[in-house]
């Protein structure tokens, strides 16, 4: 297996799918001449030309809608949001148009499209540029929502997303783009909706997704040294959620910590807790504990930002607490 960055894995997926199907095109701000604000589309303009790799004005609502319209007549747009913070302006098109078109039309108009871009916080970008939207998007029937945490998942799931005939929300991590990992050689895809146990363990489950997968792995490493073995379940897709995988892990460990990047109230973690108490009520030896961002807008100051974010120390404390070691 080759070792690639998360960014290069995404670029490979885009290149392969653009080559495979000429109905696929990439549209967004700075995706073409600038090679992408985060260089995910590097080289694609030269390779595929200006009708396939399309720079737009700063009009998230407008070009998201253009993607929807083009999908109604059979194209397969990939709409890039420079970051999901700006996608707030486009949610009407994602939620009221893309997610409902098939239903409102009685099955006549599927939406074979992808909305993608970096989600969540990076470093010191402060309140308006540091938001994680997976819980909002997972709330919406008619969408699929993917949150890959590793280069291999990023590539395999993006390819599946592009081939899927439904509107797929694909949430990347700005802080993940430079992370490296092994990626299978050649053609492969990863099924949407299937979680992966990234680490086997018996003492406690950590259910997580996206950017927090790396954190969970650090936690598992650290705790292993203390003789605590953690089962790390990476949901990978948050809509639909792989309830079975969650249940299997918790039935094994009888303890769970749910780790996510975003805010607490009505976050993904709350939904995972709901599934756990429903499916594993009699298996639980302790209440499920959640780890998430502080319930505040993201501050700019380095020290405050660090304090606000979900991280390994907080997750380690949570694991010890559910194990009554705290």
């Amino acid at each position: 297996m080759a070792v690639l960055t998360y960014r290069d894995a995404l670029t490979q997926a885009l290149r392969e799918e653009l080559s495979r199907d000429d109905r696929v095109f990439l549209m967004g701000e700075e995706v073409a001449q600038y090679n992408g604000a985060y260089k995910v589309s590097k080289g694609l303009l030269d390779e595929f030309g200006p009708m396939r790799i399309v720079d737009t004005p700063i009009t998230e609502l407008g070009f998201a809608g253009i993607g929807v319209g083009s999908a109604m007549v059979g194209l397969r747009p990939i709409i890039e949001f420079m970051t999901w913070n700006f996608a707030l302006l486009a949610l009407d098109q994602v939620v009221n148009a893309a997610a409902k078109m098939l239903y409102m039309s009685g099955g006549q108009f599927p939406m074979p499209m992808v909305f993608r871009g970096p989600n969540g916080s990076a470093l010191q970008l402060s309140a308006q540029h540091s938001q994680a939207w997976e819980s909002w998007l997972a709330h919406i029937p008619g969408l699929k929502v993917i949150t890959p945490g590793t280069p291999a998942d990023a590539k395999g799931l993006l390819k599946s997303a592009i081939r899927d005939d439904n509107p797929v929300v694909f949430l990347e991590g700005e802080m993940l783009y430079n992370t490296k990992g092994e990626v299978p050689e050649g053609e492969y895809t990863i099924p949407i909706g299937k979680a992966e146990v990234k680490r086997e363990g018996g003492d406690c489950s950590i259910i997580t997704h996206g950017k927090m997968v790396l954190v969970a792995m650090q936690v598992a490493d650290t705790l292993a040294k203390e003789g605590i073995s953690v089962d790390v379940v990476d949901l990978r897709t948050v809509r639909p959620i792989d309830i079975e995988a969650i249940a299997q892990s918790v039935q094994k460990t009888n303890r769970a910590v749910v780790l996510e990047e975003g805010w607490e109230i009505c976050g993904m973690g709350a939904q995972v807790v709901d599934f756990i108490q429903r499916e594993c009520f009699d298996d639980l030896d302790a209440p499920v504990i959640r780890v998430h961002q502080a319930d505040a807008p993201m501050p700019y100051a380095k020290n405050l930002e660090r304090a606000a974010k979900a991280d390994a120390p907080k997750a380690i404390a949570a694991v010890k607490k559910v194990m009554y070691l705290g």
Partner: protein, 352 residues
């Protein structure tokens, strides 16, 4: 860029020139057939929606229901210059356009009744009519939200190097919303084969255009995007045909978008719960506007030129009423959707 006509003037149309063969003069029989067909289309829309009002009162139609009565020349004139493979994207006020485009009255009425034989299987209702077979891409409920969709359809046409055109209808109040602005800029910037049709019936719900729009000359907005703009007396079906004919050709041949203001009137309330007059517009204003009923105008013209006897008109009208009765009966007989349908059409399970 085509000229922008000021508020007062409207271009004199060549009365009912069928533009099917450009330049070449049409013969008289074509001409008569065209006029009859435009009259038929407008009558069908009118009679159909009269029945809708009746069905709504009986509780057979529910939810929001926005009638098109008074605006039928826009849909009839527009559809008369479109090709079968062209596309239409419109708002919630979509019954008339759906019928003019050739959706069956049965499938539309069944949809309004919320029945399984409706065009959208009863899941969409009045605001969400769709028919892929005639390129009718909805029926959308968020003001302005469908304008970028139309630009996207036009983008797809250009992407495929096709020569179809996408026509987008929306009300005059939609010109103030961001989606309109963003979509028109991109359509002009990229040269997309679309025609953006403002149906200016002078009111957005209860708000007169002068209370919502700083520059009432909405066609003049085209200039902000270096796009052609034009204002049309849309109670005159031939004026509509003429302007749309040119705009559609410009889109088809040169892949250039146009913004057209159709000056029209809504003879009914905004929706079924809104009175036609008395609150935000006077009875006089409404009655004045009704003197310019597009059906009346065409009927008078044909009568004055001896092209349509009262008997012929009555016959044509009866035919439309019969079609609407048939649609009603069909819809009434159609079953409610089976409960399993609640959870279908949310996602497809196909991939490419």
């Amino acid at each position: 860029m085509t000229e922008v006509l000021g508020r007062g003037e409207t271009r004199k149309p060549k009365r009912g020139m069928s533009n099917k063969k450009n330049g070449e003069a049409p013969d008289a029989s074509d001409e008569l057939a065209l006029r009859k067909d435009l009259l038929r289309s407008m009558l069908l829309q009118r009679r159909f929606e009269e029945r809708c009002a009746e069905a709504y009162a009986l509780g057979k139609i529910g939810g929001f229901c926005h009638l098109y009565i008074g605006q039928e020349a826009i849909s009839a004139g527009t559809c008369s210059v479109l090709r079968p493979d062209d596309y239409i994207v419109t708002s919630y006020r979509d019954h008339g356009q759906a019928l003019a485009r050739g959706m069956t009255p049965r499938s539309v009425m069944a949809e309004l009744f919320g029945r399984v034989d409706g065009c959208s299987k009863g899941k969409g209702g009045s605001m969400h009519l769709f028919d892929k077979s005639v390129g009718f891409l909805g029926g959308h409920g968020i003001v302005g939200g469908h304008i970028p969709l139309a630009a996207g359809v036009a983008w797809a046409i250009k992407y495929r190097k096709g020569d179809q055109v996408c026509v987008c209808f929306f009300g005059e109040a939609a010109v103030n919303i961001g989606a309109f602005h963003e979509a028109l800029n991109m359509a002009a910037l990229w040269g997309l084969p679309a025609v953006f049709v403002i149906e200016n019936n002078r009111y957005g719900m209860g708000t007169a255009i002068s209370r919502a729009t700083a520059n009432e000359d909405v066609a003049a907005r085209a200039a902000a995007y270096r796009m052609g703009g034009e204002s049309v007396d849309a109670q005159d079906v031939f004026a509509v045909r003429d302007a749309m004919g040119r705009a559609v050709e410009l889109a088809r041949k040169e892949s250039k978008p146009t913004l057209i203001e159709m000056r029209t009137f809504r003879f009914m309330g905004h929706s079924m719960s809104d009175a036609a007059s008395g609150t935000y517009r006077s009875k006089e204003e409404l009655e004045d506007s009704m003197k310019r009923d597009p059906i009346l105008l065409l009927h008078d013209l044909m009568r004055s030129e001896g092209q349509l006897s009262d008997g012929e008109f009555a016959k044509l009208d009866e035919e439309q009423k019969a079609i609407c009765q048939d649609a009603w009966d069909f819809a009434d007989a159609s079953p409610e959707p089976p409960l399993e349908h609640l959870m279908t059409d949310i996602l497809v399970d196909t991939t490419s």
